[in-house]
Every structure is written in structure tokens, then in C-alpha cells.
């Protein structure tokens, strides 16, 4: 598969179809390839965890010209959301899909899209999808606790947060040019890494991704403090599916949850 990926990248670049290939390089690190001869640097292995879609909305990457991007099925969901939110022009993007048996991340056990569905070209064939792990997952275990226990759990987790914002930088859907966390007139989110500031930030980060997060798990992976941030997103994804039957990034046509409303929406909590 690596060989075919390199050939495809070299062909696209030498034919001038794209000016840039965003892929994985040595040790699964992101590689931005602009010359056909550099296509040899591309890799495909079980260290290709990163969701490269994050680079598509970056100004300095956009400046490099028309791009091709290497995606796994899970990453492609982010492309679907970015397209829905008019952040990328799908027609001006060449998508190289990698049929993926899992890259060894914990999320791979729950993966629903092993083979990219909307790619311009899919490389490889995917073996039989592995059976989803039985038993309760991390979110189930958390929700089985009492409210006070959950509060104590997040207090302990957020106490380690140093507000490095790696969770924001690594997220393909956190593309605001000016983040609300950086706004200081007025200060919406306390900037210090105190419990107050940390709760305000993590509530905001999770909720700004509500009904948008595709569950790539990069936030959890990037967190230097090992905070399981993905649990917050998972819980919102679960609620989104329960209330609206919507799974972000699965359906290109579906109307985004917060871009629409229905008179039939539940209001059992409103007096």
C-alpha cells in the first residue's frame, strides 16, 4: 500500500493536478510533500494515527496551492463536516483514501468507517472489520457513577490541565481564526490554569464541538496531561444520536443539527 500511495502522490504532483500532498512521513509524522521526487518520504503503517484534516484549514497550508490529502475512513468524516461548514472546497481537493484495518489506537475498536467512502481514490482493500469490543466502554463506566463522583473525577482530571490548548490545535474542527479562549474584551474564559479556568475551557471546547465532533480522538492523544477529553465529546455524540439520529461526518447530505431546528424537538426539561 505504501508503494501505491507513493506512486499516486508522485503522479498527482508531476501531472500538476495538485501542488501539495498532505500525508504521513517517517514514524507517522505529518509530511507535506510538494515535489514528486519527495513522494518517497510518504509512509503508510500502524503509526499513521494523526488526523491530517487539521492542516486543510491552516492559512500557511492553503497558500501552498491545491492539495491532496491522505485520509483513513475515520479522518474522512472530518472532511465531510468541514465541507458542510464551507471550510473546504471538496472539488478543489484530491482525497487519497486508505483502506484501514486499524492503526492500533483505542478508537479503532469502535471504528465504523474502515474504508473511506467519498475519496477520489481508495488504496488497498480492507480485511474483515474487527468485532467491536464487548462490555462497557470508558464513557459507560463514567456514566455509571453518581453525579458527585463524576464531578470529583473531572476535578482530578482538569487539575492537571496546563492550558496548553493542544486539544484545540490538533482538532480538525477547531478552525476559528480567533478562538473564544483568546478573546480578552471581555474575558469569556478565565485564561489561568485554575480549576475555574479549566472547567470553563473544557466545557467550551466540548460544546463547540457538539454535534460536530467526528470522534477522531486526537484531543485525547495530544493531551500532555493525559486527560480523557474524548469522553466529553463521546457523551455529546451519544446525546446527538439519541435526540436527532445524527452522526457527524457520516452523511454528506444530512442537515447539521445546530443549523436546523424542528418544532418537534423534545422539551421535557422546559417548564
Amino acid at each position: 500500500m505504501t508503494e501505491r500511495l507513493r506512486q499516486t502522490a508522485a503522479r498527482l504532483l508531476s501531472e500538476g493536478k495538485v501542488q501539495l500532498v498532505i500525508g504521513y512521513g517517517a514514524a507517522g509524522r505529518p509530511a507535506l510533500i510538494t515535489k514528486a521526487e519527495d513522494a518517497e518520504k510518504l509512509e503508510w503503517n500502524d503509526r499513521c494515527l494523526a488526523n491530517l484534516a487539521v492542516y486543510l484549514t491552516r492559512k500557511e497550508v492553503k497558500a501552498l496551492g491545491k492539495a491532496a490529502i491522505v485520509v483513513k475512513g475515520c479522518d474522512e468524516r472530518a472532511l465531510v463536516v468541514l465541507e458542510k461548514e464551507s471550510q473546504i472546497d471538496r472539488g478543489a481537493l484530491y482525497v487519497i483514501g486508505m483502506a484501514c484495518d486499524g492503526v492500533g489506537a483505542p478508537k479503532c475498536g469502535r471504528c465504523q468507517v474502515h474504508t473511506p467512502r467519498f475519496a477520489d481514490e481508495v488504496i488497498g482493500t480492507q480485511a474483515e472489520p474487527p468485532a467491536p469490543p464487548a462490555g462497557p466502554n470508558g464513557l459507560d463506566r463514567l456514566m455509571a457513577k453518581s453525579s458527585a463522583e463524576r464531578w470529583a473525577f473531572w476535578n482530578a482530571e482538569f487539575a492537571r490541565c496546563v492550558k496548553c490548548y493542544a486539544c484545540r490545535q490538533v482538532c480538525p474542527l477547531c478552525y476559528c481564526e480567533r478562538c473564544i479562549a483568546d478573546k480578552n474584551r471581555p474575558v469569556v474564559i478565565d485564561t489561568s490554569a485554575t480549576p475555574k479556568g479549566n472547567f470553563a475551557w473544557h466545557i467550551t471546547r466540548a460544546f463547540h464541538l457538539a454535534a460536530r465532533c467526528v470522534g477522531c480522538g486526537e484531543c485525547t492523544r495530544a493531551c500532555p496531561a493525559g486527560i480523557p477529553l474524548g469522553l466529553l465529546n463521546q457523551s455529546l455524540a451519544q446525546a446527538t444520536e439519541a435526540h436527532f439520529g445524527y452522526r457527524p461526518g457520516m452523511d454528506r447530505q444530512a442537515e447539521p443539527v445546530f443549523g436546523a431546528w424542528s418544532p418537534a424537538d423534545k422539551e421535557d426539561f422546559i417548564g
Binding site: A193, G226, P228, S235, V257, D265, I270
Partner: protein, 167 residues
């Protein structure tokens, strides 16, 4: 009296209300001389659609014991659909708060029209009674007391977590 009487707890309630319905409902309660508890601080916004969830977080940060979000009944929105959008947002926001262990019983949502001064009086009365019974929201307010470097030790946090919780 040898000992001073203990101060009874009076909850602080912040009400985020829509300019077109609930604010006028409160106004009507006032002009009709309907008495309601003075524990509520009303903040007027153009529409429930404008009520950012960060305002609720802020309210708890600065010492609110309960929060009310109130606006026009569905179909009555001055901007056609602001309250429908808000309703969707709150549906999901509540699930996030539950995951975090934040006491959702302290966050109230109501529809109160400009004609429902009586309902405004009742709602504020009920919310105040509930908040008084629940006591101060010490858990969230306590977050503001801890300064940089005072947080519980990182090691203590690490021990509480099981590695498999990460996914």
C-alpha cells in the same frame, strides 16, 4: 441572646431572559404588584437564541446558586426561530453538564410570555424554594477559590484514573 442567630441562606439566582417575552412578563408582574422573591437578578438579552452557554458557566463562577433561562413560547419568537435554536442547544448542553457531574437541577428553563406575569411570579417562587432547599452551589463556587499552583497534586489526579477510561 448569648449566640448570634445563624444567617439563613438566601440563594442567588440569575435569570437570563428574552427581551420580548419573559422580560415583559416580569414587567407585568411588577405593574400588577405580584410579589416574587428578591433573590433573582434579571439579565435581559435580545432572545433566548442569544443566550450563550458561557453565560451560564460565568453565572456559576461568580456565585450563582441557580440559573433560569427563559424566553418566548415556541412559535412566538420575535426573530421567528431563535428559541427553537436555543432549545436544541440546551438539549445537548444538559447532557454535557451531566457527564461533567454539574448539578443540572440548578439550571431551569421556562417559556414565559409577555402576558404571563403570574407565571413569572410562580416560576421565581419555585426556583427560589428549590435553590434554598439545595443550599449553596459550593462545588462550582469552590473552583474560584483555588489559585494557580494550589490545585490538587497532579499525582493524586493520576491515581484516580484507570488507563482504560481514556477511550
Amino acid at each position: 441572646m448569648s449566640e448570634p442567630m445563624p444567617m439563613s441562606f438566601e440563594p442567588k439566582i440569575i435569570a437570563f431572559v428574552c427581551n420580548w417575552c419573559t422580560y415583559l412578563g416580569a414587567d407585568l408582574a411588577g405593574t400588577n404588584r405580584l410579589e416574587y422573591p428578591p433573590n433573582v437578578r434579571i439579565i435581559r438579552l435580545p432572545c433566548t437564541g442569544r443566550i450563550d452557554f458561557n453565560l451560564l458557566v460565568k453565572a456559576f463562577e461568580i456565585g450563582a446558586d441557580a440559573v433560569l433561562v427563559s424566553g418566548c413560547h415556541p412559535g412566538d419568537c420575535h426573530y421567528t426561530a431563535g428559541n427553537f435554536h436555543a432549545r436544541r442547544r440546551w438539549m445537548l448542553f444538559r447532557s454535557l453538564l451531566e457527564t461533567l457531574g454539574i448539578e443540572t437541577e440548578r439550571i431551569h428553563f421556562t417559556w414565559i410570555s409577555a402576558a404571563e406575569g403570574k407565571k413569572f411570579q410562580q416560576v421565581i417562587g419555585e426556583i427560589t424554594a428549590t435553590a434554598r432547599a439545595m443550599g449553596p452551589y459550593a462545588a462550582y463556587q469552590g473552583l474560584s477559590q483555588v489559585q494557580v499552583g494550589q490545585a490538587s497534586t497532579p499525582a493524586a489526579g493520576l491515581q484516580t484514573r484507570q488507563p482504560e477510561d481514556a477511550q
